[in-house]
Protein backbone atom coordinates (compact mmCIF):
# COMPACT_ATOMS: atom_id res chain seq x y z
CA UNK A 1 0.00 0.00 0.00
CA UNK A 2 1.25 3.45 -0.94
CA UNK A 3 0.69 6.43 1.37
CA UNK A 4 1.34 9.95 0.09
CA UNK A 5 1.92 12.59 2.76
CA UNK A 6 1.46 16.29 2.01
CA UNK A 7 4.06 18.80 3.13
CA UNK A 8 3.36 22.54 3.29
CA UNK A 9 5.77 25.17 4.60
CA UNK A 10 5.27 24.75 8.37
CA UNK A 11 4.12 21.12 8.32
CA UNK A 12 5.97 19.26 11.08
CA UNK A 13 4.34 15.82 11.41
CA UNK A 14 5.21 14.46 7.96
CA UNK A 15 8.12 12.32 9.22
CA UNK A 16 6.16 10.96 12.20
CA UNK A 17 3.39 10.05 9.79
CA UNK A 18 5.88 8.46 7.41
CA UNK A 19 7.42 6.46 10.28
CA UNK A 20 3.97 5.30 11.42
CA UNK A 21 2.88 4.00 8.01
CA UNK A 22 6.28 2.45 7.22
CA UNK A 23 6.08 0.62 10.54
CA UNK A 24 2.79 -0.80 9.25
CA UNK A 25 4.54 -1.95 6.07
CA UNK A 26 3.40 0.76 3.66
CA UNK A 27 5.54 2.51 1.10
CA UNK A 28 5.42 6.29 1.50
CA UNK A 29 6.08 9.48 -0.41
CA UNK A 30 6.29 12.99 0.99
CA UNK A 31 4.72 15.38 -1.50
CA UNK A 32 5.68 19.08 -1.50
CA UNK A 33 2.68 21.41 -1.75
CA UNK A 34 3.82 22.93 -5.06
CA UNK A 35 3.13 19.66 -6.82
CA UNK A 36 0.07 19.81 -9.06
CA UNK A 37 -0.46 16.07 -9.11
CA UNK A 38 -0.98 13.22 -6.69
CA UNK A 39 0.81 10.01 -7.80
CA UNK A 40 -1.71 7.70 -9.39
CA UNK A 41 -0.56 4.72 -7.28
CA UNK A 42 -1.55 6.51 -4.05
CA UNK A 43 -3.88 4.39 -1.88
CA UNK A 44 -4.14 6.95 0.93
CA UNK A 45 -3.37 10.66 0.97
CA UNK A 46 -2.49 12.13 4.37
CA UNK A 47 -2.57 15.84 5.13
CA UNK A 48 -0.10 15.83 8.03
CA UNK A 49 -0.13 18.03 11.12
CA UNK A 50 1.88 21.12 11.93
CA UNK A 51 1.44 24.82 11.33
CA UNK A 52 1.07 25.30 7.59
CA UNK A 53 1.90 28.91 6.70
CA UNK A 54 2.40 29.63 10.39
CA UNK A 55 -1.37 29.42 10.95
CA UNK A 56 -1.47 33.00 9.60
CA UNK A 57 -4.98 34.46 9.15
CA UNK A 58 -6.59 31.17 10.31
CA UNK A 59 -5.24 27.63 10.66
CA UNK A 60 -5.32 26.05 7.22
CA UNK A 61 -6.70 29.15 5.47
CA UNK A 62 -3.71 29.78 3.22
CA UNK A 63 -2.71 26.13 2.69
CA UNK A 64 -6.05 25.47 1.00
CA UNK A 65 -4.85 27.55 -1.98
CA UNK A 66 -1.57 25.66 -2.44
CA UNK A 67 -1.26 24.14 -5.93
CA UNK A 68 -1.50 20.59 -4.59
CA UNK A 69 -4.95 21.20 -3.08
CA UNK A 70 -6.65 21.20 -6.50
CA UNK A 71 -5.20 17.75 -7.07
CA UNK A 72 -6.34 16.68 -3.59
CA UNK A 73 -9.89 17.85 -4.41
CA UNK A 74 -9.84 15.86 -7.64
CA UNK A 75 -8.38 12.80 -5.91
CA UNK A 76 -11.13 12.93 -3.26
CA UNK A 77 -13.88 13.55 -5.82
CA UNK A 78 -12.79 10.35 -7.59
CA UNK A 79 -13.24 8.43 -4.36
CA UNK A 80 -9.59 8.53 -3.23
CA UNK A 81 -9.08 8.20 0.53
CA UNK A 82 -7.83 11.29 2.36
CA UNK A 83 -6.89 11.58 6.04
CA UNK A 84 -6.27 14.97 7.68
CA UNK A 85 -4.55 14.95 11.06
CA UNK A 86 -4.61 18.07 13.29
CA UNK A 87 -3.57 20.91 10.97
CA UNK A 88 -4.52 18.56 8.12
CA UNK A 89 -8.06 18.44 9.55
CA UNK A 90 -8.10 22.24 9.66
CA UNK A 91 -6.90 22.41 6.03
CA UNK A 92 -9.62 19.96 4.91
CA UNK A 93 -12.41 21.94 6.63
CA UNK A 94 -11.08 25.20 5.19
CA UNK A 95 -10.99 23.60 1.74
CA UNK A 96 -14.62 22.51 2.14
CA UNK A 97 -13.73 18.80 1.88
CA UNK A 98 -15.04 18.26 5.42
CA UNK A 99 -17.96 20.00 7.15
CA UNK A 100 -17.58 22.44 10.07
CA UNK A 101 -14.66 24.57 11.26
CA UNK A 102 -12.00 24.55 13.99
CA UNK A 103 -12.03 27.50 16.39
CA UNK A 104 -9.59 28.58 19.10
CA UNK A 105 -9.79 26.23 22.12
CA UNK A 106 -12.48 27.36 24.55
CA UNK A 107 -10.05 28.18 27.37
CA UNK A 108 -7.56 29.67 24.90
CA UNK A 109 -4.70 27.38 25.97
CA UNK A 110 -2.57 25.31 23.66
CA UNK A 111 -3.30 21.73 24.83
CA UNK A 112 -0.62 19.05 24.48
CA UNK A 113 -1.29 15.76 26.27
CA UNK A 114 -2.64 12.25 25.86
CA UNK A 115 -6.44 12.17 25.73
CA UNK A 116 -8.96 9.37 25.49
CA UNK A 117 -11.28 9.12 22.52
CA UNK A 118 -14.44 7.11 22.05
CA UNK A 119 -15.15 5.44 18.72
CA UNK A 120 -18.60 6.59 17.56
CA UNK A 121 -18.89 5.04 14.11
CA UNK A 122 -16.70 2.26 12.78
CA UNK A 123 -18.60 1.63 9.54
CA UNK A 124 -15.85 3.27 7.51
CA UNK A 125 -12.37 2.44 6.17
CA UNK A 126 -10.60 4.33 8.94
CA UNK A 127 -12.03 2.81 12.11
CA UNK A 128 -13.15 -0.62 10.97
CA UNK A 129 -10.48 -2.35 13.13
CA UNK A 130 -12.17 -0.88 16.22
CA UNK A 131 -15.63 -1.36 17.72
CA UNK A 132 -18.16 1.35 18.43
CA UNK A 133 -17.71 2.44 22.05
CA UNK A 134 -14.01 1.44 22.15
CA UNK A 135 -11.81 3.89 24.03
CA UNK A 136 -8.35 4.72 22.66
CA UNK A 137 -5.58 6.84 24.15
CA UNK A 138 -4.13 9.26 21.60
CA UNK A 139 -2.09 12.48 21.99
CA UNK A 140 -3.62 15.84 21.18
CA UNK A 141 -1.55 18.97 20.49
CA UNK A 142 -3.51 21.97 19.28
CA UNK A 143 -4.55 25.55 19.85
CA UNK A 144 -7.42 25.60 17.37
CA UNK A 145 -9.18 22.29 17.96
CA UNK A 146 -12.58 23.54 19.06
CA UNK A 147 -14.82 21.90 16.45
CA UNK A 148 -17.82 23.97 15.43
CA UNK A 149 -20.78 23.07 13.27
CA UNK A 150 -24.26 24.59 13.30
CA UNK A 151 -27.31 22.65 14.49
CA UNK A 152 -28.46 21.54 11.05
CA UNK A 153 -24.94 20.41 10.21
CA UNK A 154 -24.72 18.45 13.44
CA UNK A 155 -28.01 16.69 12.71
CA UNK A 156 -26.68 15.72 9.30
CA UNK A 157 -23.41 14.38 10.79
CA UNK A 158 -25.41 12.21 13.16
CA UNK A 159 -27.90 11.03 10.54
CA UNK A 160 -25.07 9.92 8.23
CA UNK A 161 -22.81 8.41 10.95
CA UNK A 162 -20.10 10.95 10.10
CA UNK A 163 -18.87 11.48 13.67
CA UNK A 164 -15.75 9.31 13.99
CA UNK A 165 -14.43 9.92 17.52
CA UNK A 166 -15.35 12.09 20.51
CA UNK A 167 -13.26 13.17 23.52
CA UNK A 168 -13.83 11.16 26.70
CA UNK A 169 -12.19 9.99 29.91
CA UNK A 170 -10.57 6.57 30.36
CA UNK A 171 -13.97 5.03 31.12
CA UNK A 172 -15.57 6.43 28.00
CA UNK A 173 -17.52 9.20 29.74
CA UNK A 174 -17.67 12.46 27.82
CA UNK A 175 -14.76 14.77 28.71
CA UNK A 176 -14.34 17.83 26.55
CA UNK A 177 -10.86 19.45 26.55
CA UNK A 178 -11.44 22.27 24.07
CA UNK A 179 -15.12 23.21 23.79
CA UNK A 180 -15.87 21.21 20.63
CA UNK A 181 -19.56 20.81 19.77
CA UNK A 182 -20.69 17.45 21.22
CA UNK A 183 -17.00 16.80 22.15
CA UNK A 184 -16.31 15.92 18.51
CA UNK A 185 -12.64 15.08 17.82
CA UNK A 186 -12.97 13.80 14.25
CA UNK A 187 -15.46 13.54 11.39
CA UNK A 188 -15.68 12.22 7.84
CA UNK A 189 -17.53 13.40 4.76
CA UNK A 190 -20.86 11.94 3.68
CA UNK A 191 -19.19 9.71 1.09
CA UNK A 192 -16.85 8.36 3.81
CA UNK A 193 -13.61 8.75 1.91
CA UNK A 194 -12.35 11.97 3.53
CA UNK A 195 -11.47 11.78 7.24
CA UNK A 196 -10.23 14.40 9.67
CA UNK A 197 -9.35 14.43 13.35
CA UNK A 198 -7.46 16.69 15.75
CA UNK A 199 -5.70 13.92 17.75
CA UNK A 200 -2.47 12.36 16.43
CA UNK A 201 -2.73 8.56 15.90
CA UNK A 202 0.73 8.66 14.23
CA UNK A 203 2.19 9.68 17.60
CA UNK A 204 0.70 6.64 19.35
CA UNK A 205 2.58 3.81 17.66
CA UNK A 206 4.80 2.53 20.50
CA UNK A 207 3.60 1.40 23.95
CA UNK A 208 6.94 2.49 25.42
CA UNK A 209 6.16 6.07 24.34
CA UNK A 210 2.80 6.12 26.11
CA UNK A 211 0.38 4.35 23.79
CA UNK A 212 0.21 2.20 20.68
CA UNK A 213 -3.52 2.70 20.15
CA UNK A 214 -2.75 4.61 16.96
CA UNK A 215 -1.80 1.32 15.28
CA UNK A 216 -5.40 0.04 15.44
CA UNK A 217 -6.64 3.30 13.97
CA UNK A 218 -4.23 3.59 11.05
CA UNK A 219 -4.39 -0.14 10.29
CA UNK A 220 -8.00 0.29 9.19
CA UNK A 221 -6.76 1.82 5.95
CA UNK A 222 -4.48 -1.16 5.24
CA UNK A 223 -7.21 -3.76 5.27
CA UNK A 224 -9.39 -2.70 2.37
Amino acid sequence: MKVTILQFPGTNCEYDTQHAFEKLGCSTEILWHKSEEVSSDTDLLVVAGGFSYGDYLRSGAIAKFSPVMKAVGKYAANGGKVLGICNGFQVLTEAGLLPGALKRNEHLHFISKHHHLKVQNNDNDFLKELNNGDVVNIPIAHHDGNYYIDEDGLKELKANNQILVTYCDENGNELNPNGSVDSIAGVCNKEKNVFGLMPHPERAMEAILGSDDGVKMLEGFLKA
Binding site: T93, K103, R104, N105, H107
Partner: protein
Amino acid sequence: MKAIVNVSLKAGVLDSQGKAVHHALDSLHFSGVEDVRVGKQIVMQLSHTDEAKAREEVTQMCEDLLANTVIEDYEIELVK
Protein backbone atom coordinates in the same frame (compact mmCIF):
# COMPACT_ATOMS: atom_id res chain seq x y z
CA MET B 1 -8.85 53.49 -2.38
CA LYS B 2 -8.55 51.80 0.97
CA ALA B 3 -10.61 48.77 1.96
CA ILE B 4 -11.11 48.01 5.63
CA VAL B 5 -12.43 44.52 6.35
CA ASN B 6 -13.64 43.62 9.82
CA VAL B 7 -13.97 39.89 10.48
CA SER B 8 -15.67 38.61 13.62
CA LEU B 9 -17.26 35.40 14.86
CA LYS B 10 -20.94 35.12 13.95
CA ALA B 11 -23.53 35.94 16.58
CA GLY B 12 -24.28 32.65 18.33
CA VAL B 13 -20.74 31.30 17.88
CA LEU B 14 -19.05 31.45 21.29
CA ASP B 15 -16.21 33.99 21.28
CA SER B 16 -13.75 32.64 23.89
CA GLN B 17 -11.29 35.50 23.40
CA GLY B 18 -14.08 38.05 23.82
CA LYS B 19 -15.13 36.29 27.03
CA ALA B 20 -11.57 36.33 28.40
CA VAL B 21 -11.17 40.03 27.60
CA HIS B 22 -14.55 40.75 29.21
CA HIS B 23 -13.42 38.91 32.32
CA ALA B 24 -10.15 40.89 32.40
CA LEU B 25 -12.04 44.20 32.06
CA ASP B 26 -14.27 43.15 34.96
CA SER B 27 -11.14 42.47 37.03
CA LEU B 28 -9.97 46.01 36.23
CA HIS B 29 -13.32 47.30 37.60
CA PHE B 30 -14.71 48.44 34.23
CA SER B 31 -18.15 47.40 35.38
CA GLY B 32 -20.19 48.90 32.54
CA VAL B 33 -19.16 46.38 29.87
CA GLU B 34 -22.04 44.17 28.75
CA ASP B 35 -20.40 42.16 25.97
CA VAL B 36 -17.02 41.90 24.24
CA ARG B 37 -16.34 40.45 20.79
CA VAL B 38 -12.78 40.13 19.50
CA GLY B 39 -12.32 40.22 15.74
CA LYS B 40 -9.62 41.09 13.27
CA GLN B 41 -9.17 43.95 10.89
CA ILE B 42 -7.56 43.65 7.47
CA VAL B 43 -6.64 46.93 5.77
CA MET B 44 -5.84 46.89 2.07
CA GLN B 45 -4.67 49.65 -0.25
CA LEU B 46 -6.40 49.09 -3.60
CA SER B 47 -5.56 50.47 -7.03
CA HIS B 48 -9.26 50.54 -7.98
CA THR B 49 -11.08 53.80 -8.51
CA ASP B 50 -14.52 52.27 -9.15
CA GLU B 51 -16.19 51.70 -5.78
CA ALA B 52 -18.70 49.10 -6.99
CA LYS B 53 -15.97 47.02 -8.60
CA ALA B 54 -13.78 47.31 -5.53
CA ARG B 55 -16.64 46.16 -3.29
CA GLU B 56 -17.37 43.22 -5.55
CA GLU B 57 -13.73 42.14 -5.52
CA VAL B 58 -13.26 42.57 -1.78
CA THR B 59 -16.46 40.60 -1.15
CA GLN B 60 -14.98 37.76 -3.20
CA MET B 61 -11.73 38.01 -1.19
CA CYS B 62 -13.74 37.66 2.01
CA GLU B 63 -15.69 34.66 0.72
CA ASP B 64 -12.55 32.92 -0.57
CA LEU B 65 -9.93 33.72 2.03
CA LEU B 66 -10.32 36.56 4.50
CA ALA B 67 -13.25 35.04 6.43
CA ASN B 68 -14.35 31.49 7.12
CA THR B 69 -18.07 31.95 6.56
CA VAL B 70 -18.87 28.77 8.51
CA ILE B 71 -18.05 30.67 11.71
CA GLU B 72 -17.30 34.28 10.76
CA ASP B 73 -19.10 37.37 9.45
CA TYR B 74 -17.35 40.19 7.63
CA GLU B 75 -17.99 43.89 7.06
CA ILE B 76 -16.37 45.91 4.30
CA GLU B 77 -15.68 49.62 4.48
CA LEU B 78 -14.26 51.51 1.50
CA VAL B 79 -12.47 54.80 2.05
CA LYS B 80 -11.48 57.11 -0.82
